[in-house]
Structures are given as C-alpha cells and as structure tokens.
Amino acid sequence: MARKYLRMTLNERIQHLNLAINFTILVITGFALKYPEAFWASPITDVPLGMTFRGFLHRLSGVATVTLGGYHLLYLAFTERGRQIVKDMIPTFKDAVDLWETLKNNLFINRPAKIIKMGRFNFREKFEYLGLIWGTIVMTVTGFILWFKEEWLLFFPMWTFDVARAIHFYEAILATLTILVWHFYSVILNPDVYPMNWAWIDGHLTEHEMELEHGMELERIKEEEKRRLVDFQEASNAGGGRIYPLHPESSSRLNVRRFYGIVQDLNESIKNWKGI
C-alpha cells in the first residue's frame, strides 16, 4: 500500500472549500452585473428582484471571503503549521530557476529532461498563493470603496470611484482567468494528476505525486524520519537502523484469523465474567 503524505489538514481543507464556494458565488454574481444580457445570467436577471438579490449575495460573499482572509492570517500567525506555511511560501531564486528549467524540459531544450526537485510549495503554488493574496487585497479595497461610496466620496473625487470600479472589474477578470487557466491546470488538467488532485478532499498526496511535484520536500521528510528513528534507541538497536513493523498484518485488513481471535477473546471474557 502506497504511503500517503499529509498535504492539507481538515482545517485547511475547510478553508479551501469555503474560499472555493465564495469565489464561485462572487464570480457569478459579479459578472452577471457586467454582462446582464449573457445567457448564463438569466437565472439572476429573469427573476423579479434578481439583480437586488445578486448585489446582496455579492456583498455577503465578499464579507465572507474577507472574514476568511482574516481567519487565514490568524491561522498563519498563531499555529505552528501556519508559521511553517509562511516560511515555506517565501519565493526564492530557486523558484525562478525551477520555472525556467521546467520550461526548458517542456520544450525539449534540456536533453535528457532534468529532474527538478521542488520544495513543499513549488513555483506554481507560490505564484498562485501570492497572487491570491494580492487579488484579495485589491478586491477588498476596491470592493469596499464601491460599497461605501457615500463615505468614500466624502473625501475623494468621483474619478477615484471610477478607478476603483475599473480595477475591481479587471482584477476580477484576471483572478477568474488565473483560477481557470493556472489552478485548474495544476489540479485537474495536468496529466500527472488527471482527473483530479484529491488533496482538497482527502488531504493527502501519494508518494508518486510527492516525487513529481515536491521532490525536495519528500527527501526532507524521509531524511527527518530516518533521523528520528535513529534517535529512537530501541528501534535502532532492534533493526540496526532499519525498522520493520512488529505486526505486519495489524495494519492490513481484518482477516478470518484475526476475526476468530476477537470472537475467542469475547468468549473468554464472558466465561470469566464475575460481576461488578
């Protein structure tokens, strides 16, 4: 049985699902305003008060997304794992090199193809995550200007409002296309993971996936595990540094022999029952 590596904790998966739902709602309700005659906008525009509800839902989802962003910042700051995510997410020169080498591999410039070992977050993920943060900041600021126009226009001229409108619209196009082109390629259309990368549901990556996309991280994990085991005195003595499971069948499925044992144990305990 192939080993699995934790990619997203349940908390992170819920954050991701939350963002995915809210992002989708924001995209649909947002572009329904810009393209009210589009066929896909008809569920909103054909309904009485549809546009009013659209605006309400857009703001609601916006607030939800901003709240999620705030929660995520707290998560990054106040959990061990979160702080590690921040450290691992910092772009380095190696990411640019990885990108360049991947492109050269893809275009058959590197012959034979170089094996690229990437860290916990590879350049694709770093680019997307940092882009998401940038986009969220831009959309939040411009979105709140559009929402609280009366307050904003107390201090700023009307053209700043128009600028905020333009930025909100074009940034939305950029964000939506990034998700469609970049994210959906990474996790769906990429032949390595097709039909889907399941990490957003079960939270794990297989060893094979780790090798392909996070080779350096995989090496680091193995290194660390080995070091731990070496540190563990009994284990090191027993296996000379190599560990074998004590009960190989214990982790496998329930077989007849084990099932018989369980029943026997139960019988024993009933026979020896002495009351409370």
């Binding site: 305003l33 005659e37 053209w159 333009a166 990429n190």
Partner: protein
C-alpha cells in the same frame, strides 16, 4: 313596319322608364352624396339646439372649412351612417344617433386605439384629439395633431404635464419649430398610449433607458445635427446604474430618475434637476447620505486615454494597463501550461 315601330316604341318606353328610375335613385343618392341636403340646414350659422342642460349648441357646419379638411371629398352620410334621412330634423328634441365609426376606414388605428388607456380607462375617442368636421392631416401646421400643436391638444386634459413640458428643453426647442424635437407622442406613442405601469407602454420604466430616450439620444443623425454626443447613453449602459438596469433592476436609476420626466432642463438652468446646486438633492433621492462632494463628480464618463476629462484619462490608463497585464499574464500561463501538457502527453506516448 308597324310591328317594328310598335316594338321600338315599347323598347324606348322601357329604356326611358329604366333611365328614369336610375335618375330618381341617382338624384336621391347625389343629394346625400354631395351633402347639399345636410348643408341646406346645417349650412345655416344660426342653426342651434338646446341640450338637456339648457346650453345652446351650434349645429353649424362650414362647407368651406369642411371642403378644405382631409375628409372634404367624402359625404356627411359616409361617416354619419346612422342618419338615414332628414327625419331627424322633424321632431324637436329628438335624440339623433350621431355615432361615427372612424374605424370603418381607419382600421389599423382603431385596432391600436382599442388597447389604449384613453379607450380603456377614459372616454377619449378620435374626435377629442383629431377634431371632427375639420380634420386636417398631420402635416398641416394648423392641425390639432401637428407636432407643435400637440402640447395644446394633449394639454386640454393633461394641463400640468403640458405646462412642464412647454418650459423644458424639449418643449422650448419644439415651440421654436425645430425639426426632430420631441413632442408628447415621441415618447408616449400615438393611438396606443398605455399607462406608465403597463409593460407594453412606451414609457414603462423598463423602456425609458432602452428605447424612450435613446431613440434620439443614441441616434447618430440627431446627435450630429444638434451637436450633442451619444456618450451619455453609452456611459449610462456601462455604469452601475445602467448595468443593473439592463439586468432588470427597477430600483436602479434610469434617465428619468436624474433628468426628470416632462420638465427636463439643461444643466445650466437653475431649475434643472441636474443643475449643480440641485444635484445633491437629486442624488439624495436614492443616496440619502450623498454629500456635496458626492454630487460634484462627473457622471457620464467613458474610459479614454485621450479623453478631455482627467478621470476619464486615468480610468483609460488603468484599463490599458490591466488589459496588457491580463493578456501577458494569462497568455504566459496558457503558453506554459500548454508546453507542460504537451511534454507530459508526449512522455506518456506508448
């Protein structure tokens, strides 16, 4: 020979009698047809009757005026089909069926008129607007339905609206005789005028910003002639108000929300809703928190890097920058992902 003569005589007699009959019938019909019989009484200026309220009503029909009207060539009896002979004049005070069915000739107008608010909610029929005996064509400047006269014609009932309209930028232009200036019917329609609340009405709130105002304000010919631009319409469609309106939002502002309805005035007019001193109040109708600064900005702007307005220029540059950014970033992504997919697909080739 004699026999032949006899035959001839009988033939001539028959011929003459038939001719006589035709003449008799022709005479009577001619008497009705040229209206002379009617006008022998109604041509008298002093012909009056007293109605049930005791008012004296003139029954005079001027032949001269009638001949000049658009119906001048048809006879009284063509319209007054219920009056068969002169017996209506015999008894004093006898009610005469004066009912005239214009629809027997003007079928199309009649059909549309049947659906109008004037027919359904009021008893405004053809004659209230068109007049009766002296109906003149639409093109005649003396006609009640001539463009400039419509303000008075409609104003007979809709006094307040006509007064407001006469002082508006549209009404002033109209009274100066400028072509293309709108009159009542330009927005409201003609025979099929419907109440504002009817979705089929030409001035229903869903039509104001789609057809009613843009029929002129987005028309190239008219905008060129009067040296204004189609920009207000274009920019409205791209603004939040316009986009939400296009999506069916009825709370969103349309043209009339800010510019008014009958009393549309230029922004230079202190009474105008869009005069700079009144803008805060106009915006405040929907945005109660609107500040003085809120109402100061330019509204009908389009992003344009060569635009005259500073804001338009900035938004234009934001637009250009973002389009460049989107094309380069997303294009780069597509290119990179395509090479990635291609390579992985080639590697998997058995």
């Amino acid at each position: 020979m004699k026999i032949i003569h006899k035959y001839n005589c009988a033939g001539v007699c028959l011929y003459l009698s038939v001719l006589f009959l035709i003449m008799i019938s022709g005479l009577t019909s001619t008497a009705w047809g040229d209206s002379s019989m009617c006008l022998s009484c109604h041509g008298d200026k002093s012909l009056t009757k007293t109605d049930s309220r005791g008012n004296k009503i003139s029954l005079f029909v001027s032949e001269e005026e009638f001949k000049k009207s658009v119906h001048g060539s048809i006879a009284c009896s063509d319209c007054h089909t219920q009056i068969l002979d002169d017996s209506h004049a015999q008894k004093k005070g006898k009610k005469v069926d004066r009912k005239v069915d214009c629809g027997s000739c003007h079928e199309e107008s009649e059909k549309i008129y049947q659906t109008s608010v004037h027919r359904l909610k009021a008893e405004i029929s053809c004659k209230e607007c068109h007049g009766y005996h002296y109906v003149t064509p639409l093109s005649n400047p003396k006609s009640a339905t001539y463009r400039t006269n419509l303000v008075q014609t409609c104003g007979a009932c809709h006094g307040e609206e006509s007064k407001q309209f006469a002082e508006s930028v549209h009404g002033v232009g109209l009274s100066r005789g400028r072509p293309n200036h709108p009159t009542c019917t330009t927005c409201h329609g003609t025979h099929g005028i419907k109440p504002r609340s009817d979705p089929d009405s030409a001035v229903h709130e869903r039509k104001i910003a789609i057809t009613t105002c843009p029929q002129c304000h987005a028309a190239e010919q008219i905008t060129r002639e009067y040296r204004f631009t189609t920009k207000p319409v274009k920019s409205y469609y791209d603004s939040f108000h316009g986009l939400s309106y296009r999506g069916g939002d009825t709370f969103s502002a349309n043209c009339a929300s800010c510019h008014g309805v009958h009393d549309i005035r230029p922004s230079s007019d202190p009474k105008s809703m869009i005069h700079k001193d009144n803008l805060q109040k106009t915006c405040g109708a929907c945005h109660p928190k609107a500040s003085l600064n809120f109402a100061r900005g330019k509204i009908h702007t389009l992003p344009d890097i060569k635009g005259g307005d500073f804001g338009e220029k900035v938004v234009g540059w934001v637009r250009v920058t973002y389009i460049f950014l989107i094309v380069s970033v997303i294009g780069g992504m597509i290119f990179f992902n395509f090479t990635d997919w291609l390579r992985k697909t080639i590697d998997r080739k058995p």
